[in-house]
Protein backbone atom coordinates (compact mmCIF):
# COMPACT_ATOMS: atom_id res chain seq x y z
CA UNK A 1 0.00 0.00 0.00
CA UNK A 2 1.46 3.31 -1.01
CA UNK A 3 0.11 6.51 0.54
CA UNK A 4 -3.38 5.06 0.65
CA UNK A 5 -6.35 7.02 1.94
CA UNK A 6 -9.98 6.11 1.84
CA UNK A 7 -12.80 8.44 2.74
CA UNK A 8 -16.58 8.19 2.74
CA UNK A 9 -17.97 11.68 2.16
CA UNK A 10 -16.40 13.78 4.89
CA UNK A 11 -15.34 10.81 7.00
CA UNK A 12 -11.75 9.65 6.58
CA UNK A 13 -11.59 5.91 7.30
CA UNK A 14 -7.96 5.37 6.31
CA UNK A 15 -5.44 8.18 6.26
CA UNK A 16 -2.26 8.07 4.19
CA UNK A 17 -1.11 4.55 5.02
CA UNK A 18 2.01 3.07 3.48
CA UNK A 19 2.55 -0.59 4.27
CA UNK A 20 4.53 -3.41 2.73
CA UNK A 21 3.87 -7.01 3.69
CA UNK A 22 6.66 -9.57 3.68
CA UNK A 23 6.37 -13.37 3.87
CA UNK A 24 5.43 -14.52 7.35
CA UNK A 25 2.55 -13.77 9.67
CA UNK A 26 1.63 -10.16 10.37
CA UNK A 27 -1.08 -9.02 12.74
CA UNK A 28 -3.21 -6.05 11.78
CA UNK A 29 -4.07 -4.56 15.10
CA UNK A 30 -6.31 -1.74 16.13
CA UNK A 31 -9.35 -0.91 18.22
CA UNK A 32 -12.82 -1.38 16.73
CA UNK A 33 -13.50 1.25 14.10
CA UNK A 34 -9.80 1.96 13.48
CA UNK A 35 -9.97 1.08 9.78
CA UNK A 36 -8.64 -2.51 9.77
CA UNK A 37 -11.45 -3.93 7.65
CA UNK A 38 -11.21 -1.02 5.21
CA UNK A 39 -7.48 -1.72 4.80
CA UNK A 40 -8.12 -5.44 4.26
CA UNK A 41 -10.87 -4.77 1.74
CA UNK A 42 -8.62 -2.42 -0.23
CA UNK A 43 -5.83 -5.02 -0.19
CA UNK A 44 -8.28 -7.67 -1.40
CA UNK A 45 -9.50 -5.50 -4.30
CA UNK A 46 -12.96 -4.93 -2.85
CA UNK A 47 -12.59 -1.24 -2.23
CA UNK A 48 -11.12 1.45 -4.40
CA UNK A 49 -8.64 3.67 -2.54
CA UNK A 50 -9.67 7.34 -2.69
CA UNK A 51 -5.95 8.15 -2.97
CA UNK A 52 -2.79 6.08 -3.37
CA UNK A 53 -2.20 2.61 -4.78
CA UNK A 54 -2.64 -0.94 -3.50
CA UNK A 55 -0.65 -3.51 -5.45
CA UNK A 56 0.23 -7.19 -5.35
CA UNK A 57 3.41 -7.97 -7.30
CA UNK A 58 3.23 -4.43 -8.73
CA UNK A 59 -0.27 -5.01 -10.15
CA UNK A 60 -3.24 -3.11 -8.75
CA UNK A 61 -5.73 -5.19 -6.77
CA UNK A 62 -8.74 -3.01 -7.68
CA UNK A 63 -10.71 -4.19 -10.74
CA UNK A 64 -8.13 -6.93 -11.35
CA UNK A 65 -9.55 -10.45 -10.73
CA UNK A 66 -6.21 -11.99 -11.80
CA UNK A 67 -4.77 -11.15 -8.36
CA UNK A 68 -6.94 -13.91 -6.87
CA UNK A 69 -4.62 -16.50 -8.41
CA UNK A 70 -2.19 -15.58 -5.63
CA UNK A 71 -4.51 -14.14 -3.00
CA UNK A 72 -7.02 -15.70 -0.63
CA UNK A 73 -9.50 -13.80 1.52
CA UNK A 74 -11.44 -14.80 4.61
CA UNK A 75 -13.61 -11.84 5.46
CA UNK A 76 -15.31 -11.22 8.76
CA UNK A 77 -18.87 -11.79 7.57
CA UNK A 78 -19.50 -15.47 8.09
CA UNK A 79 -21.59 -15.94 4.97
CA UNK A 80 -21.28 -19.35 3.35
CA UNK A 81 -23.58 -21.19 0.96
CA UNK A 82 -25.40 -23.12 3.68
CA UNK A 83 -27.17 -25.43 1.23
CA UNK A 84 -23.85 -27.01 0.14
CA UNK A 85 -21.75 -29.50 2.08
CA UNK A 86 -18.23 -28.40 3.03
CA UNK A 87 -16.80 -30.68 0.35
CA UNK A 88 -19.15 -29.36 -2.36
CA UNK A 89 -18.32 -25.81 -1.31
CA UNK A 90 -14.54 -26.23 -1.34
CA UNK A 91 -14.60 -28.29 -4.57
CA UNK A 92 -16.71 -25.52 -6.18
CA UNK A 93 -14.08 -22.99 -5.08
CA UNK A 94 -11.33 -25.19 -6.56
CA UNK A 95 -13.24 -25.49 -9.84
CA UNK A 96 -13.71 -21.72 -10.05
CA UNK A 97 -9.92 -21.46 -9.67
CA UNK A 98 -9.68 -23.94 -12.56
CA UNK A 99 -7.36 -26.22 -10.56
CA UNK A 100 -6.32 -29.40 -12.41
CA UNK A 101 -7.65 -31.77 -9.70
CA UNK A 102 -10.35 -29.90 -7.74
CA UNK A 103 -11.31 -32.88 -5.55
CA UNK A 104 -7.74 -33.55 -4.42
CA UNK A 105 -7.13 -29.84 -3.76
CA UNK A 106 -10.36 -29.64 -1.75
CA UNK A 107 -9.46 -32.75 0.26
CA UNK A 108 -6.05 -31.25 1.08
CA UNK A 109 -7.56 -27.92 2.17
CA UNK A 110 -10.26 -29.59 4.30
CA UNK A 111 -7.61 -31.75 5.94
CA UNK A 112 -5.52 -28.65 6.75
CA UNK A 113 -8.39 -27.17 8.75
CA UNK A 114 -9.46 -30.52 10.26
CA UNK A 115 -12.81 -30.62 8.51
CA UNK A 116 -12.44 -33.95 6.73
CA UNK A 117 -14.76 -35.81 9.10
CA UNK A 118 -17.63 -33.35 8.77
CA UNK A 119 -17.17 -32.62 5.05
CA UNK A 120 -20.36 -34.40 3.97
CA UNK A 121 -22.70 -32.39 6.20
CA UNK A 122 -24.50 -29.29 4.94
CA UNK A 123 -22.70 -26.10 6.00
CA UNK A 124 -26.00 -24.77 7.35
CA UNK A 125 -25.79 -27.35 10.16
CA UNK A 126 -22.26 -26.31 11.27
CA UNK A 127 -21.21 -24.38 14.34
CA UNK A 128 -19.73 -20.91 13.88
CA UNK A 129 -16.19 -22.26 14.26
CA UNK A 130 -16.75 -25.03 11.69
CA UNK A 131 -18.13 -22.55 9.18
CA UNK A 132 -15.10 -20.37 9.76
CA UNK A 133 -12.73 -23.28 9.15
CA UNK A 134 -14.63 -24.21 5.99
CA UNK A 135 -14.18 -20.67 4.72
CA UNK A 136 -10.47 -20.85 5.50
CA UNK A 137 -10.28 -24.14 3.54
CA UNK A 138 -11.98 -22.45 0.58
CA UNK A 139 -9.53 -19.54 0.74
CA UNK A 140 -6.56 -21.93 0.90
CA UNK A 141 -7.69 -24.38 -1.77
CA UNK A 142 -5.50 -22.82 -4.48
CA UNK A 143 -2.51 -22.53 -2.11
CA UNK A 144 -2.29 -18.72 -2.38
CA UNK A 145 0.94 -16.89 -1.61
CA UNK A 146 -0.99 -14.18 0.21
CA UNK A 147 -3.79 -14.85 2.66
CA UNK A 148 -5.85 -12.07 4.22
CA UNK A 149 -8.06 -12.88 7.19
CA UNK A 150 -10.43 -10.52 8.96
CA UNK A 151 -10.91 -11.49 12.62
CA UNK A 152 -10.27 -15.19 11.85
CA UNK A 153 -10.61 -16.45 15.43
CA UNK A 154 -14.14 -15.17 15.95
CA UNK A 155 -16.47 -17.92 17.11
CA UNK A 156 -13.77 -20.55 17.55
CA UNK A 157 -13.42 -22.56 20.73
CA UNK A 158 -9.97 -22.60 22.41
CA UNK A 159 -8.88 -25.85 20.73
CA UNK A 160 -9.91 -24.65 17.27
CA UNK A 161 -8.27 -21.30 17.99
CA UNK A 162 -5.01 -23.03 18.89
CA UNK A 163 -5.21 -25.16 15.75
CA UNK A 164 -5.82 -22.11 13.56
CA UNK A 165 -2.88 -20.31 15.18
CA UNK A 166 -0.62 -23.30 14.47
CA UNK A 167 -1.89 -23.40 10.87
CA UNK A 168 -1.16 -19.70 10.33
CA UNK A 169 2.28 -20.16 11.89
CA UNK A 170 3.15 -23.06 9.62
CA UNK A 171 1.88 -21.24 6.53
CA UNK A 172 4.00 -18.24 7.47
CA UNK A 173 7.05 -20.44 8.00
CA UNK A 174 6.53 -21.99 4.57
CA UNK A 175 6.87 -18.54 2.99
CA UNK A 176 3.23 -17.49 2.67
CA UNK A 177 2.37 -13.90 3.42
CA UNK A 178 -0.38 -13.91 6.02
CA UNK A 179 -2.13 -10.81 7.30
CA UNK A 180 -4.84 -11.19 9.89
CA UNK A 181 -6.75 -8.49 11.69
CA UNK A 182 -7.75 -8.64 15.30
CA UNK A 183 -8.64 -6.35 18.15
CA UNK A 184 -7.72 -9.06 20.71
CA UNK A 185 -4.13 -8.51 21.76
CA UNK A 186 -3.51 -12.03 23.11
CA UNK A 187 -4.42 -13.50 19.71
CA UNK A 188 -1.94 -11.32 17.85
CA UNK A 189 0.74 -11.83 20.48
CA UNK A 190 0.48 -15.61 20.21
CA UNK A 191 0.45 -15.77 16.41
CA UNK A 192 2.78 -13.05 15.31
CA UNK A 193 5.58 -10.82 16.54
CA UNK A 194 5.19 -8.51 13.54
CA UNK A 195 2.31 -6.07 13.77
CA UNK A 196 0.81 -3.21 11.85
CA UNK A 197 -1.01 -1.04 14.34
CA UNK A 198 -3.80 1.18 13.05
CA UNK A 199 -5.28 3.84 15.27
CA UNK A 200 -8.00 6.21 14.00
CA UNK A 201 -7.27 5.39 10.36
CA UNK A 202 -3.53 6.02 10.63
CA UNK A 203 -0.66 3.58 10.79
CA UNK A 204 0.58 4.13 14.34
CA UNK A 205 3.42 1.60 14.27
CA UNK A 206 4.82 -1.14 12.10
CA UNK A 207 7.26 -4.00 12.76
CA UNK A 208 8.13 -6.34 15.63
CA UNK A 209 6.26 -5.04 18.66
CA UNK A 210 9.22 -5.68 20.98
CA UNK A 211 11.37 -3.52 18.71
CA UNK A 212 8.62 -0.90 18.62
CA UNK A 213 8.63 -0.85 22.42
CA UNK A 214 12.39 -0.31 22.55
CA UNK A 215 12.10 2.64 20.18
CA UNK A 216 9.67 4.37 22.53
CA UNK A 217 12.47 6.17 24.35
CA UNK A 218 10.14 8.73 25.93
CA UNK A 219 8.63 6.00 28.13
CA UNK A 220 10.70 4.33 30.85
CA UNK A 221 11.23 0.61 30.34
CA UNK A 222 9.98 -1.49 33.22
CA UNK A 223 11.95 -4.52 34.44
CA UNK A 224 11.20 -7.06 37.13
CA UNK A 225 14.42 -7.97 38.96
CA UNK A 226 15.08 -10.55 41.67
CA UNK A 227 18.43 -10.93 43.37
CA UNK A 228 20.17 -12.33 46.43
CA UNK A 229 19.86 -8.90 48.14
CA UNK A 230 17.12 -6.76 46.61
CA UNK A 231 17.42 -3.87 49.08
CA UNK A 232 21.17 -3.38 48.54
CA UNK A 233 20.74 -3.73 44.77
CA UNK A 234 18.00 -1.06 44.85
CA UNK A 235 20.35 1.38 46.59
CA UNK A 236 23.07 0.70 44.03
CA UNK A 237 20.71 0.97 41.07
CA UNK A 238 19.24 4.34 42.05
CA UNK A 239 22.72 5.85 41.63
CA UNK A 240 22.81 4.63 38.02
CA UNK A 241 22.04 7.38 35.46
CA UNK A 242 19.81 5.25 33.23
CA UNK A 243 17.56 4.26 36.16
CA UNK A 244 14.66 6.63 36.81
CA UNK A 245 12.97 4.74 39.65
CA UNK A 246 13.04 1.59 41.76
CA UNK A 247 10.22 0.00 43.73
CA UNK A 248 10.71 -2.78 46.19
CA UNK A 249 8.14 -5.31 47.33
CA UNK A 250 7.92 -8.90 48.49
CA UNK A 251 8.43 -10.32 44.99
CA UNK A 252 11.52 -8.29 44.20
CA UNK A 253 12.35 -5.03 42.46
CA UNK A 254 10.49 -3.11 39.77
CA UNK A 255 13.03 -0.94 38.00
CA UNK A 256 12.16 1.88 35.58
CA UNK A 257 14.94 2.62 33.14
CA UNK A 258 15.04 5.53 30.74
CA UNK A 259 17.48 3.78 28.38
CA UNK A 260 17.02 0.10 27.60
CA UNK A 261 20.57 -0.52 26.35
CA UNK A 262 22.43 1.42 29.07
CA UNK A 263 20.47 -0.25 31.85
CA UNK A 264 20.86 -3.81 30.58
CA UNK A 265 24.62 -3.20 30.25
CA UNK A 266 24.93 -1.50 33.66
CA UNK A 267 22.95 -4.01 35.71
CA UNK A 268 25.42 -6.95 35.56
CA UNK A 269 28.32 -4.58 36.23
CA UNK A 270 26.59 -3.13 39.30
CA UNK A 271 25.56 -6.55 40.60
CA UNK A 272 29.10 -7.87 40.17
CA UNK A 273 30.57 -4.83 41.90
CA UNK A 274 28.21 -5.25 44.88
CA UNK A 275 28.69 -9.02 45.03
CA UNK A 276 24.95 -9.61 44.46
CA UNK A 277 23.65 -12.61 42.55
CA UNK A 278 20.92 -11.82 39.98
CA UNK A 279 18.13 -14.41 39.93
CA UNK A 280 15.65 -12.87 37.49
CA UNK A 281 15.60 -10.06 34.95
CA UNK A 282 12.41 -9.69 32.93
CA UNK A 283 11.21 -6.77 30.80
CA UNK A 284 7.68 -6.48 32.17
CA UNK A 285 6.17 -3.97 29.76
CA UNK A 286 7.24 -5.51 26.46
CA UNK A 287 3.93 -7.28 26.03
CA UNK A 288 1.84 -6.30 23.06
CA UNK A 289 -0.75 -4.95 25.47
CA UNK A 290 1.73 -2.42 26.90
CA UNK A 291 2.92 -1.39 23.45
CA UNK A 292 -0.62 -1.05 22.22
CA UNK A 293 -1.79 1.03 25.17
CA UNK A 294 1.26 3.31 24.80
CA UNK A 295 0.43 3.79 21.11
CA UNK A 296 -3.20 4.56 21.88
CA UNK A 297 -2.18 7.12 24.48
CA UNK A 298 0.34 8.77 22.14
Amino acid sequence: MQNVSRWYGNVVAVNDITMRLEPGVTGLLGPNGAGKTTVLHMMAGFLNPSKGTVTLDDKPTWRNPEVYRHLGLVNEREAVHGFLTAEEFVVANAKMHKLPDPKAAAARALDLVEMTEAKDRRIGTYSKGMRQRTRVAAALVHNPRVLLLDEPFNGMDPRQRMHMMTLLHSLGERGHTILFSSHILEEVEQVSGTVQVIVAGRLAASGDYREIRRLMTNRPHVFAVQSSDDRRLAVALIAEKSVSGVEIDATGLTVRASDYGSFTRALPRIALGEGIRLRKLLPSDESLESVFSYLLEA
Binding site: K36, L47, P65, H81
Partner: protein
Protein backbone atom coordinates in the same frame (compact mmCIF):
# COMPACT_ATOMS: atom_id res chain seq x y z
CA UNK B 1 -23.07 -26.13 -16.55
CA UNK B 2 -20.47 -23.76 -15.08
CA UNK B 3 -19.76 -23.87 -11.35
CA UNK B 4 -21.25 -20.39 -10.95
CA UNK B 5 -24.46 -21.48 -12.68
CA UNK B 6 -24.53 -24.64 -10.51
CA UNK B 7 -24.19 -22.68 -7.27
CA UNK B 8 -26.73 -20.12 -8.48
CA UNK B 9 -29.29 -22.80 -9.36
CA UNK B 10 -28.77 -24.63 -6.04
CA UNK B 11 -29.07 -21.31 -4.23
CA UNK B 12 -32.21 -20.30 -6.09
CA UNK B 13 -34.05 -23.53 -5.34
CA UNK B 14 -32.52 -23.94 -1.90
CA UNK B 15 -34.22 -20.84 -0.53
CA UNK B 16 -37.84 -20.45 0.53
CA UNK B 17 -38.10 -17.71 -2.04
CA UNK B 18 -38.36 -20.46 -4.69
CA UNK B 19 -41.81 -21.35 -3.34
CA UNK B 20 -42.99 -17.94 -4.55
CA UNK B 21 -42.56 -19.22 -8.10
CA UNK B 22 -45.46 -21.67 -7.80
CA UNK B 23 -48.70 -19.80 -6.92
CA UNK B 24 -48.90 -17.37 -9.86
CA UNK B 25 -48.45 -19.92 -12.69
CA UNK B 26 -50.88 -22.26 -10.89
CA UNK B 27 -53.43 -19.43 -10.59
CA UNK B 28 -53.07 -18.66 -14.32
CA UNK B 29 -53.64 -22.26 -15.42
CA UNK B 30 -56.35 -22.74 -12.79
CA UNK B 31 -58.35 -19.72 -13.99
CA UNK B 32 -58.03 -20.79 -17.63
CA UNK B 33 -59.15 -24.32 -16.76
CA UNK B 34 -62.09 -22.99 -14.73
CA UNK B 35 -63.30 -20.71 -17.56
CA UNK B 36 -62.88 -23.48 -20.11
CA UNK B 37 -64.68 -26.08 -17.99
CA UNK B 38 -67.65 -23.73 -17.55
CA UNK B 39 -67.67 -23.03 -21.32
CA UNK B 40 -67.20 -19.29 -20.86
CA UNK B 41 -66.43 -17.79 -24.30
CA UNK B 42 -62.70 -17.05 -24.68
CA UNK B 43 -63.52 -13.52 -25.86
CA UNK B 44 -64.84 -12.81 -22.33
CA UNK B 45 -61.90 -14.15 -20.31
CA UNK B 46 -58.99 -14.50 -22.76
CA UNK B 47 -57.60 -10.96 -22.63
CA UNK B 48 -57.95 -10.35 -18.87
CA UNK B 49 -56.45 -13.74 -17.96
CA UNK B 50 -53.74 -14.06 -20.63
CA UNK B 51 -52.67 -10.40 -20.80
CA UNK B 52 -53.98 -8.88 -17.55
CA UNK B 53 -52.71 -11.74 -15.40
CA UNK B 54 -50.24 -13.74 -17.54
CA UNK B 55 -48.21 -11.05 -19.30
CA UNK B 56 -48.76 -8.10 -16.94
CA UNK B 57 -48.29 -9.95 -13.63
CA UNK B 58 -47.02 -13.56 -13.85
CA UNK B 59 -44.14 -12.96 -16.29
CA UNK B 60 -42.71 -9.76 -14.76
CA UNK B 61 -43.19 -10.85 -11.13
CA UNK B 62 -41.62 -14.29 -11.70
CA UNK B 63 -38.74 -12.61 -13.58
CA UNK B 64 -38.38 -10.15 -10.70
CA UNK B 65 -38.19 -12.90 -8.07
CA UNK B 66 -35.69 -14.90 -10.09
CA UNK B 67 -33.72 -11.98 -11.60
CA UNK B 68 -33.06 -10.36 -8.25
CA UNK B 69 -32.61 -13.76 -6.55
CA UNK B 70 -29.71 -15.02 -8.65
CA UNK B 71 -27.38 -12.20 -7.59
CA UNK B 72 -29.19 -9.90 -5.16
CA UNK B 73 -29.57 -12.51 -2.43
CA UNK B 74 -25.84 -13.32 -2.63
CA UNK B 75 -25.06 -9.61 -2.39
CA UNK B 76 -27.37 -9.35 0.65
CA UNK B 77 -25.98 -12.32 2.56
CA UNK B 78 -22.35 -11.75 1.53
CA UNK B 79 -21.82 -15.13 -0.16
CA UNK B 80 -21.02 -13.39 -3.44
CA UNK B 81 -17.52 -12.74 -2.14
CA UNK B 82 -16.68 -16.45 -2.55
CA UNK B 83 -17.39 -16.17 -6.26
CA UNK B 84 -15.74 -12.78 -6.70
CA UNK B 85 -12.43 -13.87 -5.12
CA UNK B 86 -11.71 -16.03 -8.14
CA UNK B 87 -9.63 -15.14 -11.20
CA UNK B 88 -12.70 -15.18 -13.45
CA UNK B 89 -13.78 -12.43 -15.83
CA UNK B 90 -16.80 -10.68 -14.29
CA UNK B 91 -18.53 -11.14 -17.65
CA UNK B 92 -18.56 -14.92 -17.09
CA UNK B 93 -20.17 -14.51 -13.66
CA UNK B 94 -22.92 -12.23 -14.99
CA UNK B 95 -23.58 -14.40 -18.05
CA UNK B 96 -23.85 -17.54 -15.91
CA UNK B 97 -26.27 -15.90 -13.49
CA UNK B 98 -28.27 -14.25 -16.28
CA UNK B 99 -28.47 -17.60 -18.09
CA UNK B 100 -29.94 -19.27 -15.00
CA UNK B 101 -32.40 -16.40 -14.48
CA UNK B 102 -33.58 -16.49 -18.10
CA UNK B 103 -34.01 -20.27 -18.25
CA UNK B 104 -35.85 -20.49 -14.90
CA UNK B 105 -38.12 -17.48 -15.62
CA UNK B 106 -38.82 -18.55 -19.20
CA UNK B 107 -39.70 -22.14 -18.27
CA UNK B 108 -41.76 -21.08 -15.23
CA UNK B 109 -43.79 -18.61 -17.33
CA UNK B 110 -43.81 -20.09 -20.84
CA UNK B 111 -45.30 -23.45 -19.82
CA UNK B 112 -48.38 -22.08 -17.98
CA UNK B 113 -48.83 -19.37 -20.64
CA UNK B 114 -48.75 -22.01 -23.36
CA UNK B 115 -51.37 -24.11 -21.52
CA UNK B 116 -53.59 -21.07 -20.81
CA UNK B 117 -53.23 -19.87 -24.45
CA UNK B 118 -54.09 -23.31 -25.80
CA UNK B 119 -57.17 -23.43 -23.55
CA UNK B 120 -58.26 -19.93 -24.62
CA UNK B 121 -57.74 -20.25 -28.35
CA UNK B 122 -55.36 -22.58 -30.08
CA UNK B 123 -51.94 -24.14 -29.78
CA UNK B 124 -50.74 -21.30 -32.03
CA UNK B 125 -51.83 -18.74 -29.43
CA UNK B 126 -50.08 -20.84 -26.79
CA UNK B 127 -46.87 -20.89 -28.84
CA UNK B 128 -47.07 -17.12 -29.42
CA UNK B 129 -47.46 -16.47 -25.69
CA UNK B 130 -44.67 -18.92 -24.81
CA UNK B 131 -42.22 -17.36 -27.30
CA UNK B 132 -43.20 -13.86 -26.13
CA UNK B 133 -42.64 -14.95 -22.52
CA UNK B 134 -39.21 -16.37 -23.37
CA UNK B 135 -38.12 -13.13 -25.08
CA UNK B 136 -39.64 -11.09 -22.25
CA UNK B 137 -37.77 -13.23 -19.70
CA UNK B 138 -34.48 -12.21 -21.36
CA UNK B 139 -35.18 -8.47 -21.13
CA UNK B 140 -36.78 -8.59 -17.67
CA UNK B 141 -34.00 -10.79 -16.23
CA UNK B 142 -31.21 -8.54 -17.54
CA UNK B 143 -33.03 -5.47 -16.18
CA UNK B 144 -33.72 -6.94 -12.73
CA UNK B 145 -30.22 -8.41 -12.48
CA UNK B 146 -28.78 -4.95 -13.08
CA UNK B 147 -31.18 -3.49 -10.48
CA UNK B 148 -29.80 -5.90 -7.87
CA UNK B 149 -26.34 -4.45 -8.45
CA UNK B 150 -27.22 -0.76 -8.50
CA UNK B 151 -29.64 -0.56 -5.59
CA UNK B 152 -30.08 -2.15 -2.17
CA UNK B 153 -33.84 -2.42 -2.81
CA UNK B 154 -34.09 -4.13 -6.20
CA UNK B 155 -37.41 -5.86 -5.45
CA UNK B 156 -39.09 -2.62 -4.43
CA UNK B 157 -37.80 -0.74 -7.48
CA UNK B 158 -38.73 -3.67 -9.72
CA UNK B 159 -42.27 -3.65 -8.35
CA UNK B 160 -42.50 0.10 -8.94
CA UNK B 161 -41.48 -0.49 -12.56
CA UNK B 162 -44.02 -3.32 -13.00
CA UNK B 163 -46.94 -1.73 -11.18
CA UNK B 164 -46.45 1.99 -11.84
CA UNK B 165 -44.59 2.22 -15.15
CA UNK B 166 -46.05 -0.77 -17.00
CA UNK B 167 -49.30 -1.22 -15.07
CA UNK B 168 -50.46 2.33 -14.48
CA UNK B 169 -48.65 4.68 -16.85
CA UNK B 170 -48.66 2.06 -19.63
CA UNK B 171 -52.49 2.02 -19.57
CA UNK B 172 -53.00 5.76 -19.66
CA UNK B 173 -49.89 7.42 -21.09
CA UNK B 174 -49.29 6.05 -24.56
CA UNK B 175 -45.68 7.31 -24.77
CA UNK B 176 -44.54 5.08 -21.91
CA UNK B 177 -45.50 1.93 -23.87
CA UNK B 178 -42.38 2.35 -26.03
CA UNK B 179 -40.30 1.63 -22.93
CA UNK B 180 -42.45 -1.22 -21.63
CA UNK B 181 -41.17 -4.81 -21.85
CA UNK B 182 -44.76 -6.03 -21.39
CA UNK B 183 -45.76 -4.28 -24.62
CA UNK B 184 -42.89 -5.90 -26.54
CA UNK B 185 -44.02 -9.31 -25.30
CA UNK B 186 -47.62 -8.63 -26.43
CA UNK B 187 -46.30 -7.58 -29.85
CA UNK B 188 -44.25 -10.80 -30.26
CA UNK B 189 -47.14 -13.00 -29.08
CA UNK B 190 -49.61 -11.16 -31.34
CA UNK B 191 -47.37 -11.45 -34.44
CA UNK B 192 -46.83 -15.17 -33.93
CA UNK B 193 -50.42 -16.11 -33.03
CA UNK B 194 -52.43 -13.49 -35.00
CA UNK B 195 -55.05 -13.85 -32.25
CA UNK B 196 -57.88 -11.37 -31.68
CA UNK B 197 -57.31 -11.70 -27.96
CA UNK B 198 -54.01 -9.81 -28.20
CA UNK B 199 -53.69 -6.18 -29.26
CA UNK B 200 -50.15 -4.97 -30.08
CA UNK B 201 -49.54 -1.30 -29.35
CA UNK B 202 -45.86 -1.25 -30.32
CA UNK B 203 -44.54 -2.08 -33.79
CA UNK B 204 -42.48 -5.24 -34.28
CA UNK B 205 -39.21 -3.44 -35.25
CA UNK B 206 -39.45 -1.24 -32.15
CA UNK B 207 -40.15 -4.30 -29.97
CA UNK B 208 -37.21 -6.23 -31.45
CA UNK B 209 -34.70 -3.37 -31.30
CA UNK B 210 -35.63 -2.25 -27.79
CA UNK B 211 -35.76 -5.81 -26.39
CA UNK B 212 -32.23 -6.42 -27.69
CA UNK B 213 -31.05 -3.00 -26.47
CA UNK B 214 -32.45 -3.53 -22.97
CA UNK B 215 -31.06 -7.07 -22.69
CA UNK B 216 -27.59 -6.25 -24.02
CA UNK B 217 -27.38 -2.80 -22.40
CA UNK B 218 -28.37 -4.05 -18.95
CA UNK B 219 -25.98 -7.01 -19.23
CA UNK B 220 -23.04 -4.81 -20.20
CA UNK B 221 -23.87 -2.37 -17.40
CA UNK B 222 -24.13 -5.24 -14.89
CA UNK B 223 -20.70 -6.60 -15.94
CA UNK B 224 -19.16 -3.16 -15.50
CA UNK B 225 -20.88 -2.70 -12.16
CA UNK B 226 -19.66 -6.06 -10.89
CA UNK B 227 -16.07 -5.14 -11.85
CA UNK B 228 -16.30 -2.29 -9.35
CA UNK B 229 -18.12 -4.25 -6.67
CA UNK B 230 -17.22 -2.79 -3.26
CA UNK B 231 -17.59 -4.18 0.21
CA UNK B 232 -18.24 -1.78 3.02
CA UNK B 233 -16.28 -2.37 6.20
CA UNK B 234 -18.44 -3.77 8.95
CA UNK B 235 -16.16 -3.16 11.83
CA UNK B 236 -14.56 0.04 10.66
Amino acid sequence: MSTVAYITTRGLFGRRRALLLLPLPLLLVGLALLCRSYDVPATDWGTPVLVGLGLAVVLPVISLIVGTGVLGSEVDDGTLVHILTKPMPRRDIILAKLGVAIVVSAVTCAVPLFIAGALAGSAKLGVGLAVGAAVGACAYSAFFLLLSLVTRRPVLLGLVYILVWEGLLGRFVSGTRVLSIEQYVITFADRISSSDLLVARVSLPVAVVLSVLITVGCTVAAVDRLRSFSMAGETS
